[in-house]
């Protein structure tokens, strides 16, 4: 699993700061993104947690909509109850008080490939309309313009978790027509091919089901393509179009995301991320 908060910071540095102008002053786009992502975990049981944005979203969910959520960290922890928000996904707080601490061989073999994960929560540097993910390089692999972290466990999570959630900031550099490198399989060339290959390969995962960004919530339609389902407060469809390289599909009954509650904001600001590492 990969630390996208880290990469995203670099991306922003390159792209220049993203303004929060579209959102009311009471909360940031990052806060809205994290809250919206956390809410998507309602009713889920076992979640494989990525570092950075997925990490704070999942910890927020465990404290709000999904109190029984079992957190799995690729480092080898199951049933973690982090007493603090870990900066890294190998933090000692994910072990003390956890249900099990096991070798990575066991975690990837029996828990992940064995099919026990309900949701894999990934970040991404680039994503295409079918939810295929690049976290490896911008540019050519041999001569990269930007070298990214690589797969980590992402390519395994993408095919073995029952479903995959993605959280990332959207821009014409990240929501692209063609990703520079396919690190992790999404819906491949579309739903039909994806279902055929997942069946043929014995993958237990159905692929990506939701993408939450700083502007909106996306799900996938029957063709396996990303579909805009909800706009965050103050965000217009034009803002979305301006930050997607392809012509995005939108739901006929396009919703609007409920703003963060005071409770959600308090948890993030006072308990989970007082330093504003993720939410700034």
């Amino acid at each position: 699993m990969v630390g996208f908060q880290g990469y995203a910071a670099h991306a922003r540095a390159r792209l220049g700061p993203m303004t929060d102008s579209a959102a009311p002053a009471t909360f940031s786009q990052s806060e809205m993104m994290i809250v919206a992502a956390a809410r998507e975990l309602a009713g889920q049981r076992v979640c494989f947690v990525g570092v950075g944005l997925p990490n704070i979203a999942v910890n927020l969910a465990q404290r709000t909509v999904a109190p029984d959520l079992e957190l799995v960290y690729e480092a080898g922890a199951f049933g973690s109850r982090p007493a603090r928000l870990p900066l890294s996904i190998g933090d000692p707080t994910i072990v003390t008080g956890a249900t099990a601490a096991v070798s990575m061989l066991e975690l990837f073999s029996f828990y992940l490939q064995g099919g026990l994960i309900d949701v894999g929560f990934l970040g991404a540097a680039q994503i295409d309309r079918f939810g295929n993910i690049n976290t490896t390089v911008i540019g050519d692999y041999e001569r990269p313009t930007t070298r990214l972290p690589g797969s980590g466990g992402a390519c395994e999570i993408a095919i073995n978790a029952r479903e995959v959630f993605v959280i990332m900031r959207q821009s014409k550099r990240s929501f692209v027509d063609r990703i520079d490198f396919r690190t992790s399989a999404g819906n491949l060339g579309g739903a039909e091919q994806s279902e055929r290959i997942r069946r043929q390969q014995g993958w237990l995962g159905r692929g990506p089901s939701v993408v939450v960004t700083d502007l909106a919530i996306w799900h996938f339609d029957e063709t396996g393509e990303m579909r805009l389902d909800s706009l965050h407060p103050g965000v217009t469809i034009e803002d979305v179009r301006a930050t997607v390289e392809w012509e995005p599909k939108a739901a006929t009954d396009l919703g609007s995301t409920a703003p963060p509650t005071d409770g959600e904001l308090r948890l993030m600001r006072e308990e989970l991320d007082p330093g504003g590492t993720y939410t700034g």
Partner: protein, 312 residues
């Protein structure tokens, strides 16, 4: 196994780590032997192939110091913070490669499961390790060592990765006896697989204990002395990573590294100040200061004791 394998870090590295070796300093976030990495830098090893799932700051430092020729890895970054500047510059150098640029770093890339599987195959003397990953991704296109293998049961094709057998694997642990029988608790990462796969093994510990402490809890033994060549006692040797129950991860250091690693001069200055100008870990710990160290000590959280029973 009454013969002691206890050695100083200087002697262990001098004797067991050689130019051109494939070296694995393993430990996933937890138990990373920075002390060994720094000693390898001090002794000026060259042309090493460095293997690690997550190169982390230690390999960024070693690459910056010029000890490495090649990197075998699965995730390259400073978790939750950013990138690893020295490694990144050496990789991205390939794109420009001008005279002013540093020499490109050769890379061999897998996923986490692929790397763990490589160590497991090496440890088990298997010619390959099978896994379901990689199909319909670009990794096999850029790494020809990731190959398809057909199930002999007519149910399709999976991928295989080749065994990885480091010349030397270095792991940090809470405690070991003089023979190298090692107890680890907390995150186990892939240290066991990396150690069994290696030709030589160095175990660095917070505490040297009597054999009786190990034998009192045999299920806690991750690495048997049988495969250990040297036991180095180096308290706080994993800083800025951590040791479960002994000290916390020094996240402040990881956050501060982001600025240092972006600037080659700052990075080289850091290496001079914290590696070359110090003669070992004890000096490093003293330089860090007792206050910083005290702040990293956790409160207690005891496992409790279990009864193995005495069977005469």
């Amino acid at each position: 196994m009454s013969t002691s394998k206890v050695a100083t870090m200087r002697d262990a590295v001098a004797e067991l780590v050689r130019d051109g070796d494939t070296v694995a300093i393993e430990g996933f976030t937890h138990l990373i032997s920075f002390a060994a990495g720094h000693e390898i830098i001090r002794q000026g090893r060259r042309d090493l192939t460095l293997a690690r799932l997550t190169p982390d700051l230690i390999y960024d430092q070693m690459v910056a110091a010029g000890v490495a020729r090649k990197l075998i890895f699965s995730w390259l970054g400073n978790p939750g913070v950013g990138g690893l500047g020295a490694i990144r510059r050496r990789i991205e150098a390939a794109s420009s490669g001008g005279p002013g640029q540093p020499h490109p770093l050769e890379i061999e890339e897998y996923s986490h499961f692929g790397m763990v599987g490589r160590y497991a195959a090496g440890a088990a003397n298997l010619p390959f390790y099978p896994l379901r990953s990689y199909f319909e991704t670009d990794l096999p296109k850029v790494n020809p060592l990731i190959r398809e293998i057909e199930s002999p049961y007519g149910d399709g094709v999976v991928y295989a990765v080749p065994p990885l057998k480091p010349d030397v694997t270095i792991v940090h642990a809470q405690r070991a006896d003089a023979a190298g029988n090692t107890h680890v608790w907390g995150l186990l990462g892939c240290q066991k697989e990396a150690a069994f796969a290696a030709d030589r093994v160095i175990v660095v510990v917070e505490e040297l204990v009597d054999e009786a402490v190990i034998r009192a809890d045999p299920n806690r033994t991750i690495i048997p002395g049988l495969i250990v060549d040297a036991v180095v006692v180096e308290p706080f040797g994993a800083h800025p990573s951590y040791v479960q129950g002994a000290y916390d991860r020094d996240n402040r250091f990881y956050l501060e590294w982001d600025a240092i690693t972006r600037d080659e001069d700052a990075l080289q200055a850091w290496l001079r100040e914290w590696v070359h100008d110090l003669d070992g870990r004890a000096a490093y710990v003293e330089k860090l200061g007792s206050e910083r160290i005290a702040a990293l000590r956790p409160g207690p959280a005891l496992s409790g004791s279990v009864d193995y029973g005495s069977y005469q």
